[in-house]
């Protein structure tokens, strides 16, 4: 378990290995896989998977308060343990992978963005003001507050590209972000446009970052 302020985060070791770690970030409402998915079995280094706050075996806090920036800090807590990692994010985890790639460009050695639940968020710009109702009595995990607030958060394209630009400027990597998604919400289309055509299959992306491990 990792400490993130008053939350305990579950960091699952899915595979041992030598070299740089691969860190898996799950989608909205999901949890880390119980065993290593076969698509990552050729990664030589260790493979870890993080349960975000309110998900899987991590703490379900009282009264909500979720933001994607908080989840970025969850991922940063994992980087505090792993030192450096290549990150693969699904859905919501893909957006968080982008944020942490821009927030900690020296430690994130490539972020692979994949399809999954919660990829789009709640839109790209100003929306009708609302205070979404949460069924606080719903069984958790996943935390019902997370399910509502991380499906309605705004993800402006210029905000996402600022992180992509930081990753490109400060990581020293030619390809800091690789996009493997079919779904292209506005924030992700803007990132692809900002960085050029860094699109590849998962296998190609893993092989690319493995060579630089």
């Amino acid at each position: 378990m990792l400490e993130h302020n008053r939350v305990q985060l579950a960091l699952h070791a899915l595979k041992a290995g030598e070299g740089r770690a691969l860190l898996l970030l799950h989608g909205l409402g999901e949890r880390s896989p119980a065993a290593l998915p076969s698509e990552y079995s050729r990664w030589k280094g260790p493979v870890y998977a993080l349960d975000f706050t309110g998900h899987g075996a991590s703490t379900v806090p009282r009264g909500g308060g979720y933001t994607c920036e908080l989840l970025m800090a969850d991922a940063d807590a994992a980087l505090g343990r792993l030192s450096q990692a290549t990150i693969v994010g699904r859905g919501l985890g893909a957006y968080v992978a982008l944020l942490i790639a821009g927030g900690r460009p020296e430690q994130v050695r490539g972020a692979i963005l994949r399809d999954g639940s919660g990829l789009a968020g709640g839109g790209a710009g100003a929306t009708t003001p609302t205070i979404p109702h949460v069924d606080a009595d719903a069984p958790a995990p996943p935390d019902p507050y997370a399910m509502v607030d991380l499906a309605t958060d705004i993800r402006p394209p210029d905000y996402a590209t600022a992180y992509a630009r930081a990753a490109a400027l400060f990581s020293g990597l030619k390809r800091p972000i690789t996009v493997c998604t079919r779904e292209r919400p506005d924030w992700l289309a803007a990132v692809v446009s900002e960085l050029g055509a860094d699109e590849a299959s998962l296998g190609q992306a893993l092989a690319h970052y493995a060579k630089r491990a």
Binding site: T53, T59, G64, L70, G80, P129, D149, A166
Partner: protein
């Protein structure tokens, strides 16, 4: 976890009055401290404090509204004052907490007054639920940002990255942070750095009601995990663009003097965004804490608007 520990109730300041009642509200499992001034049967007015403040910073202002025939209800936001230190904080969490307090007070539409972040939260909540509110007073509580500073894109990226790194560093250590202890005088002097226009006597009063006494001295009750400033996807401009269609009458009060905790909003910039019916009041030689610097005059203007 929480902000237990007693502050001194003997504190006094000319014109300030402790709340008449105090109660607690459970907001999704987070305990909030709620304060009331005035007759419980009178029409309610919600009073929303700003970031890094607490409800009793209204001790000089709230009684003046209550004495005119209102039930004034305020509360300490999560992590502030005597409310519980939460595990997470967010804008929408603060808004849900606000609704929990409003629901615990009345199910009928009511008037609301907000200072600084409290005004901005109210503006959003009122647009989300116009049927819950009747009149809105913003005390330097409407943000407005013009064009971003004219710096090169690379420089902007460097600044943003540094800001995010500082925040992530703060998150890594926030679990172990404790506030610095001191005497009430020392706490008041520290607060003066953020509130340079407020008198030492007032800040000593605030320290006496906003600090808890530990074995090694007094500490501000606010959660050390909270941090000023920040970044995120929201743009103040989105809120400004919605103001022309604001659903209920607005009174917006501004000062003229820039302060560390203020938003540096020039009312002239905001004016074109306010509905024609909005009332705009600018107090000369006044900073961000308008209701603390000029409680009498602010109350008079607010009561005129609420009448």
């Amino acid at each position: 976890m929480g902000a237990e520990g007693s502050s001194t109730d003997q504190a006094s300041f000319p014109g300030a009055r402790a709340p008449d009642r105090r109660r607690e509200v459970d907001a999704g499992g987070v305990r909030l401290s709620v304060y009331e001034w005035g007759d419980e049967a009178a029409p309610p007015v919600m009073l929303v404090h700003g970031g890094f403040d607490f409800a009793r910073t209204y001790d000089a202002f709230a009684p003046r509204i209550a004495d005119a025939g209102f039930r004034v209800v305020s509360w300490d936001h999560r992590g502030h004052g005597d409310s519980e230190h939460a595990q997470l904080y967010s804008w929408v969490a603060d808004e849900r907490d606000m609704l929990a307090v409003v629901d615990s007070t009345t199910r009928q539409p009511c008037a609301a007054i907000g200072h600084s972040k409290g005004g901005s939260m109210l503006a959003h909540a009122i647009q989300a639920m116009p049927y819950r509110f009747t009149r809105f007073v913003a005390i330097d509580g409407l943000p407005f940002r013009g064009r971003a500073p004219d710096v090169a894109e690379r420089e902007r990226t460097v600044m943003m990255r540094e800001e995010i790194a500082r925040w992530l560093d703060h998150r890594r250590e926030s679990g172990g942070l404790v506030r610095k202890p001191g005497t009430l005088e020392e706490l008041a002097r520290r607060r003066a750095r953020m509130n340079p226009r407020l008198s030492h006597e007032w800040l000593c009063y605030l320290a006496a009601i906003g600090a808890r006494r530990d074995e090694d001295g007094y500490r501000w009750k606010i959660d050390p995990a909270l941090r000023m400033g920040g970044f995120g996807p929201h743009r103040a401009r989105w809120a400004a663009d919605r103001l022309p269609g604001f659903p209920i009458p607005i009174l917006a009060i501004f000062g003229t003097e820039s302060e560390p905790m203020g938003w540096d909003v020039d009312p002239e910039d905001l004016k074109p965004y306010l509905p024609a019916s909005a009332q705009l009041e600018v107090f000369q030689d006044t900073g961000h804490f308008i209701h603390v610097e000029r409680p009498e005059r602010t109350a008079e203007r607010v009561l005129e608007f609420l009448a």
